[in-house]
């Protein structure tokens, strides 16, 4: 069966959390590397970080971005390949990204005709 492609949208709390120490960061980086190695077949694109500012265009207005009324800001995205949504969720569940309490990741299938 052909795998589906999923987009994972990373949201994080704008609230400032404690700065991690170098040891914590190296530990986290090691976890990233292990996770990427384990799920190399699933990770299509690690995506990118999104800038802090943006614009929202509506039929009747252009605003500076949707951020003001939202507690969580979209901070980045990535692409996964998996057979089912459940598999994609498992990949994300195992990632170090979700260890941070202020982070949530929405996983949506990219539909193709």
């Amino acid at each position: 069966m052909e795998n589906n492609t999923y987009i994972c949208i990373l949201r994080s709390n704008t609230g400032d959390c404690d700065k991690p120490s170098p040891s914590e960061m190296e530990l986290q980086y090691a976890k990233y590397q292990a996770w990427q190695k384990k799920f190399a077949d699933n990770i299509v694109d690690m995506g990118n970080k999104l800038g802090a500012t943006g614009g929202v265009v509506r039929q009747d207005s252009i605003s500076d971005g949707p951020f003001i009324e939202l507690k969580e800001v979209i901070g980045g995205y990535m692409m996964l390949s998996a057979a089912t949504l459940v598999d994609a969720i498992d990949v994300i569940k195992a990632s170090p990204m979700v260890e941070n309490a202020g982070v949530s990741i929405e996983i949506r299938e990219i539909c193709t005709p």
Binding site: S21, E24, E26
Partner: protein
């Protein structure tokens, strides 16, 4: 230290190197901004490296990012004009950081310079230690508190004191002459020795946590010994001492985390690789015409490491070494060790006689070391009532649960008592 351990501590070690290098370029008065910039660069790394892969030179990558961030910070604070004009040229001149060998050399050099700056007599030794751990080893305040068994507040206080002192000395930092560096070498050795013993003697249950302080001490001592200024017989002796103890570090506890007596330790488990490194360092240290406490302590450690068993240890030589050690660096702690070694070499009575004739400072007289050694020697002289009394006092004075457990199980007549040997002989002396 294995190559792997160095890679594993990429962030923590680069932190120290980057802070040192940037402090050297911009001045110690900006250390807070510099530390923030390095922290920021590392957060960026965590963001980008998973996507782009680890760069071929992580150090250069982090340096560039921290440097640019630092410049933009400086732009927003007041004294930009003079600083920017002075340093902006470095920004465009990135060939600097592309030349890997030169870059690495400059970093090591900066690390050592920071170490010498921190180890000024005007800076209290406990602040020197905290500053070294924070700015050169990359530990956070919380991590230092955990390792030194003190509160975060007092780590913070000591670190601030060190920084304040360093900022006051700004004018002389870049002008530390070779002679001044040489005169500070003993202080630098002392703080590295403390760093090692803090890890080695720590009763922390997590072995990794104990070992990483020892590894940091070795890393910096090695860096120092390999440098022009630090290449001294004393430095080699200190490094030898550290390797001898490191060889035994994993056998100091059993699988339940209980401290083991030197006699009970499995000598087959001692790292022969570390012992042979230590032996060649000890040989290298035997030059010049002075002898330091590190030479003698390394000599004693060598005696234990090379002896096939506890019983066959050359106690006569160990006794002579402790006598010499006490002559050049008098400490009641050395006397305790001398008493124990004498008890092994001659008899328990002779050991007790040494303690009876010595002047013992108050801090030692109410420590568990003192009571435990007395209890041990008294049992062996069959003075049971007095021995029991000392055993009880030792158990009451034990600072941690694992030491208390060791004393409780060992300080019993029926089991034979050699607790003092475990506590004292297998350790470097606290100072």
């Amino acid at each position: 230290m294995s190559k792997q351990a160095e890679v594993a501590h990429l962030f923590r070690h680069e932190y120290g190197r980057l802070v040192a290098l940037l402090v050297r370029r911009f001045g110690i008065s900006h250390i807070d901004t510099i530390e923030d910039a390095v922290q920021w660069a590392m957060a960026q790394a965590l963001e980008f490296w998973p996507k782009e892969g680890t760069p071929s030179s992580p150090a250069a990558w982090l340096y560039k990012v921290a440097f640019r961030h630092l410049l933009s910070e400086f732009r927003t604070i007041s004294h930009r004009s003079s600083l920017l004009n002075k340093y902006i040229s470095v920004d465009t001149d990135e060939t600097n950081s592309n030349n890997e060998a030169c870059f690495t050399g400059e970093m090591s050099d900066s690390m050592l310079r920071m170490l010498f700056i921190a180890c000024s007599n005007k800076n209290p030794v406990e602040s020197q230690l905290v500053f070294t751990l924070k700015s050169l080893c990359g530990f956070s305040i919380r991590e230092i508190a955990l390792r030194l068994f003190i509160t975060e507040a007092s780590v913070y206080k000591r670190f601030s004191r060190a920084k304040k002192h360093l900022k006051n000395e700004t004018f002389e930092l870049d002008m530390l002459s070779n002679n001044e560096m040489l005169s500070r070498l003993p202080s630098v050795h002392h703080v590295l020795y403390l760093l090692f013993t803090e890890g080695y003697l720590s009763s922390h249950t997590d072995t990794a946590i104990r070992q990483d302080l020892c590894e940091e001490a070795i890393r910096l001592t090695k860096l120092l010994a390999e440098s022009k200024i630090g290449d001294s017989p004393n430095g080699c002796a200190l490094l030898a001492l550290m390797y001898f103890h490191l060889a035994k570090i994993n056998t100091r506890k059993n699988e339940f985390g209980m401290l083991l007596l030197l006699e009970q330790q499995d000598r087959n488990e001692w790292s022969q690789q570390h012992i042979s490194v230590a032996m060649s360092l000890l040989a290298q240290s035997a030059k010049g015409d002075s002898i330091s406490r590190y030479h003698i302590e390394a000599g004693i450690a060598a005696e234990h490491c090379l002896s096939p068993s506890f019983k066959r240890t050359n106690w006569k030589k160990v006794v002579a070494s402790y006598q010499l050690l006490n002559n050049i660096a008098p400490s009641a702690f050395h006397l305790l060790n001398l008493a124990i070694a004498t008890a092994e070499w001659k008899s328990a009575q002779d050991g007790l006689a040494i303690l009876a004739s010595a002047e013992i400072p108050a801090w030692l007289e109410c420590s568990y070391h003192w009571y435990a050694v007395h209890a041990d020697l008294l049992y062996r002289c069959e003075k049971f009532t007095l021995a029991d009394k000392n055993a009880d006092l030792a158990i009451t004075a034990a600072p941690t649960e694992s030491i208390k457990q060791l004393l409780i199980t060992r300080l019993k007549r029926s089991e034979g008592v050699q607790v003092s040997r475990a506590i004292l002989l297998s350790c470097p002396a606290p100072s």
